[in-house]
């Protein structure tokens, strides 16, 4: 097995708040090889964005980051600002939920694309222009030449996200982090954007982290899935293994809460009651215990560690895992 392109080792992020320290990411370990897609799933506020910002070294100034982020042989946490800036936008690219986060409203689309390309690759203006047009065409934008002269506000939300993806892909990154790239979009446009990302990812042998709150989004599109809850990874497995047998009650609950087309109208949805715990007031036991229907005994006293199941690569953090094979139940 080749060395992973990205390896997140014991990463923790703390943010000081008036209410006390907030642990947004709580000692996470993850690895990703070139050409593979890792899905990160969890509810709002569980730390997905903070984790991706920790990888990119784009955390809020007051944030405290510990651990290592090994990318292509170097630790990004200890890399100087100038090297980081060169890395981001070239080898390390990101697409945010709101495309306007990465687009500049006062510059034309052409200027933004060509600036990125010329900053990171040694191309002259005509070559950069040609490449910009190719990229816009690749992300499914009709009449790309005309688009170059337009401003972001003249495009629909779906178009803007395509353009943000074109900019992210412009320098052939080795890793693309897509943080809820389709949450703000319609289902049809969502499907188009996810297909586009998958196609470009395969074509470029790029590694991708796909962040979402919807297990349905990662099911057909990620090689591996990590489920996050209250800042921690609570289950991690190759996608087929996860959907075949989820061991974490939280993963099961997340899946059950999605409305299904097969279900008859007016069937009450199995919602997860309540909210995740206040991240400035960590619980002593399992963070999911107040909402978990299997919670018992130890769950309220101790934190379950991420441990291996019977299948290689399948990890879970639970004292009473569900759907275990015969004889392995804890």
């Amino acid at each position: 097995m080749s060395a992973p392109l990205l390896s997140i080792e014991d990463v923790a992020v703390e943010l000081p708040t008036p209410r006390g320290n907030l642990r947004a990411v709580d000692h996470v370990d993850l690895a990703l090889e070139a050409g593979r897609t890792l899905g990160i799933v969890g509810e709002s506020g569980c730390g997905k964005t903070m984790l991706s910002r920790a990888i990119l070294q784009l955390l809020p100034k007051k944030a405290k980051l510990t651990g290592r982020v090994m990318f292509d042989g170097q630790d990004l946490v200890r890399l100087d600002a100038e090297s980081l800036r060169r890395l981001r936008g070239r080898d390390l690219a990101v697409v945010f939920q709101d495309p306007m986060t990465s687009l500049n409203p006062v510059l034309t689309i052409g200027t933004q694309l060509m600036e990125t390309i010329q900053e990171h690759l040694e191309l002259d203006a005509p070559a950069a222009r040609k490449r910009s047009i190719e990229l816009l065409a690749a992300v499914g934008i009709p009449a790309p030449e005309q688009r170059l002269a337009q401003y972001p506000h003249q495009c629909s939300g779906g178009m803007r996200q395509r353009i943000a993806i074109a900019i992210a892909l412009s320098c052939e990154p080795k890793l693309l982090i897509a943080d809820e790239p389709t949450t703000a979009l319609d289902v049809t446009i969502q499907a188009q954007i996810l297909d586009l990302l998958a196609r470009e990812q395969r074509r470029r042998h790029m590694a991708m982290i796909l962040i979402t709150h919807d297990l349905g989004v990662v099911a057909g599109r990620a090689d591996e899935v990590a489920v996050m809850y209250a800042g921690r990874v609570v289950e991690r497995a190759p996608t087929p293994a996860l959907f075949k047998r989820m061991h974490m009650p939280y993963t099961e609950a997340l899946l059950a809460a999605i409305p299904k087309l097969e279900t008859a109208p007016h069937t009450p949805l199995p919602a997860i009651s309540g909210r995740p715990p206040d991240p400035t007031r960590p619980l002593q036991g399992c963070s999911f215990a107040p909402r978990c229907r299997y919670a018992a005994g130890r769950c309220h006293q101790a934190k379950p560690e991420l441990t291996g199941a019977e299948m290689p690569g399948h990890l879970y953090a639970c004292f009473h895992p569900i759907q275990m094979a015969e004889g392995l139940d804890a």
């Binding site: 178009m159 188009q192 007016h266």
Partner: protein, 326 residues
């Protein structure tokens, strides 16, 4: 608990929208947001309304409530034409119909306390007795699962998206309305909170005897709560039918496209590649004939020449297509 007003039983639909046209001026151009929509909502029914962003769902919902006046067409509520009403009679009528917005946080005034926000419709409706108002606010906040004593004194930013949506649902219920337009009430919420709010809406509907127009862009969400579903594309209805039937046997190619686009939480189901068929054209210059024809795999010359009318394809199911799938 609140009194559910004795409601006249009648077979007449509570809401009848008849050939409604709504347009916006944009410079010297016209945005054809809603172009001749007709639909009925029976008493106690939930009608789901789905379609992509910009297709005119919110405009239709707002025109039904007379928050935006229609260019032409009629909106009959309980037999009375709202489009012909003005002044005091319209104000009275508005107590019976309410709106819940998509963005739960933005729809609440950030500087007002929750108690005042929820009481606002009561003040507008002229309920002068402050004690009575407080009592109604407390009842309705408990009904949506919030602890009135803990929330009335706080400001919207102190609440999560899901809690803000509970608060706006409470506000929409406080006047004991008969009909509520829910405009994408769960689109901005994540999966777990979405399920809580959908369940809450169902409970409230049963408890208060409501009739709902439920707008969303996600078909699975719509199906969870709707008796019938109407599919809208670029200002027109494509298809209307009972939920189960419409989802099992869509007749309109656009309904089929929407169904394919739903992400399925099953890794063995490979996402269909066929939905990559572009975005809706501009409502400033909609295509001739069938408005869906620029993205439709079945489009032919007739589709460009002639506008398809809604007609029955199965009992209770209507589709506007020259070449329906069933």
């Amino acid at each position: 608990m609140m009194q559910v007003a004795a409601r006249a039983k009648s077979d007449e639909p509570l809401l009848k929208v008849d050939n409604l046209v709504v347009e916006y001026g944009l410079g010297n151009k016209i945005v054809h947001a809603v172009s001749g929509v007709s639909l009925d909502v029976a008493r106690g029914e939930t009608l789901g309304l789905v379609g992509e962003s910009g297709c005119g769902k919110s405009t239709l919902g707002r025109a039904v409530l007379q928050l935006r006046r229609a260019t032409s067409g009629r909106v009959l509520f309980d037999g009375e034409d709202l489009t012909a009403m003005q002044g005091e009679p319209l104000r009275k009528m508005r107590r019976r119909v309410q709106l819940i917005f998509q963005d739960p946080i933005a729809s609440l005034n950030p500087r007002r306390r929750i108690g005042d926000i929820v009481a606002e419709p009561l003040i507008i409706a002229g309920i002068k007795d402050a004690e009575k108002r407080t009592q109604l606010v407390h009842e309705v906040l408990s009904a949506v699962g919030l602890d009135p004593d803990l929330v009335v004194g706080r400001l919207p930013h102190e609440f999560s998206g899901g809690q803000c949506q509970r608060i706006s649902i409470a506000r929409s219920l406080v006047l004991n309305p008969e009909f509520i337009v829910c405009d994408e009430p769960v689109s901005a919420l994540d999966v777990s909170i979405r399920a809580q709010i959908l369940n809450l809406l169902e409970e409230m509907k049963a408890r208060f005897g409501l009739t709902l127009l439920f707008i969303a862009h996600d078909l699975a969400v719509v199906k969870a709560v709707s008796d019938r579903v109407a599919v809208m594309y670029l200002g027109r209805l494509c298809e209307v039918g009972p939920s189960e039937q419409l989802f099992a046997k869509p007749a309109h190619p656009y309904t089929a496209l929407l169904l394919e686009a739903i992400p399925v939480p099953d890794p063995d189901v490979r996402p269909a590649g066929s939905v990559a068929t572009g975005e809706p054209p501009s409502p400033i210059a909609p295509p001739s004939g069938c408005r869906f024809r620029t993205r439709c795999p079945r489009a032919d010359q007739r589709c460009a020449a002639q506008m398809p009318e809604l007609r029955e394809v199965a009992p209770g199911q209507l589709a506007a297509c020259h070449h329906p799938l069933t």
